[in-house]
Amino acid sequence: MDLYTLLNGIMIGCEMIPLIILLSLIARNKTVAPRWIFLTATAFIGGCYELTADLFPEGFDDYWYYAFTVFETAGIIYFFSPYSPRWTSIALLSITLIFTLLLFSNISKEMNMYRFGWVCLMQLAITLICIFQWGRDRFQNLLYPSLFDDPDFYAIIGLVIYLAVCSFYYLLYPYMIQFPNDNLLFYWIILPGAISAYGMLLGIGAWKQQKA
């Protein structure tokens, strides 16, 4: 097994585990918030997406990526919906659709990593707006003795690391490909690292969810 396959395997596993944890909690009659199921389901589908893209790379193009991005952003907006007014959620979802459609209408035949970077930045900006609303609620109500007792906090740290690193990687990608392929693996490592960290933090949050 080469390093690429190993890292990919770890990344996909980490993305799939949180939903499995939640399902095991549901099977044990624990109460699980639907927004958590939705967020972990987006991560799970992300894992499936990576796996299918690895197994059948020829069938994948930008359309899949943008469709997944819209779904993932909707998952993030839904996750934070208890802390935002409804119109904010609708506005954020509309921005996602418009922004993605604008890029979608201009898709070239080749995968365009640079544009992926802009999509990721948009997701990060939307997530930060949602985190701001969440923070306002948490600092007003002071529900938990520490933020680390709040399962949402883990999901938020994971989301910020994942989206920031993805944006950074995709925006630098056009410069990276100027160098031979063996170096690309060296640069690429941060991507599965960030996605795995997101998956693991989401897993911790999902596990803590039963106690919250």
């Binding site: 600092f139 002071l142 933020l147 740290i157 690391i161 950074f168 941060i190």
Partner: protein, 255 residues
Amino acid sequence: MDQTRHILNMYYWIGFSMILLMVFLIFYISHFYYKTLFSKQKNLQHQMMDEVLKSRESEQVRIARDLHDGVLGDLAAIRFSLNLFKSQLSTAQQNFIIQTEEQLQKITQEIRGLCHDLVPPILETVGLVKTLQTVLDEKAQRTGKKIELQVDYVPQLSAIDELHILRLVQEWLANHFQHNRSNTFQVHFAPVDNAHWKIVLTDNGEKFNWQQLMQQSQGLGWKNLQARVMILQGVVEQNEVELGNEIEITIPVRL
């Protein structure tokens, strides 16, 4: 080419490290600020609750004093007058007066019990354990229920903490007498570790869920109990038992 590669490498690592550092710093600062805010809020709540309970205690003292010096004094005066008046009456009338005197005696005893409930007269002189034993014995006698006190450990406590613990046990019993058909109670003081001790309250009544009770209860009894636990900086846990309920309150040792 090598120079471009070197610059890219540098930007890559600086950028990546900056992202991680910023994420870490932002979340650490938020966590730190949140914790400070939470502890300030908690302290404020404690202070407020302490003040409320203190004013309640002083109000109880005032009521007990009024009852003792006013109502009990008046009742004693009435009994004395009836006794003086009794000798001038016929036998049938005397019997009526005797019955009235007995009723007055009962009322006097009830008011005296009420005064003791409001202000335990011996807490400062004999300490928590003996006072609690006396209060529990009185309660057992009055209600006909079995109430047991088991003391394995009690740390040195301030006068106000002793009063909170006494009240806490009284509130617990009063709530059970009203809502939960238990007839056997046990109060157990035990050590946990060097820094903590615990009060275990056991009953054999209908099962309840402590968390749900706290969220759903409209009455003041359970809320008062919870308030006293908060002031003692204690943590309440409900243990699974076959029959009845077991509440474990772990309290830090402080003086």
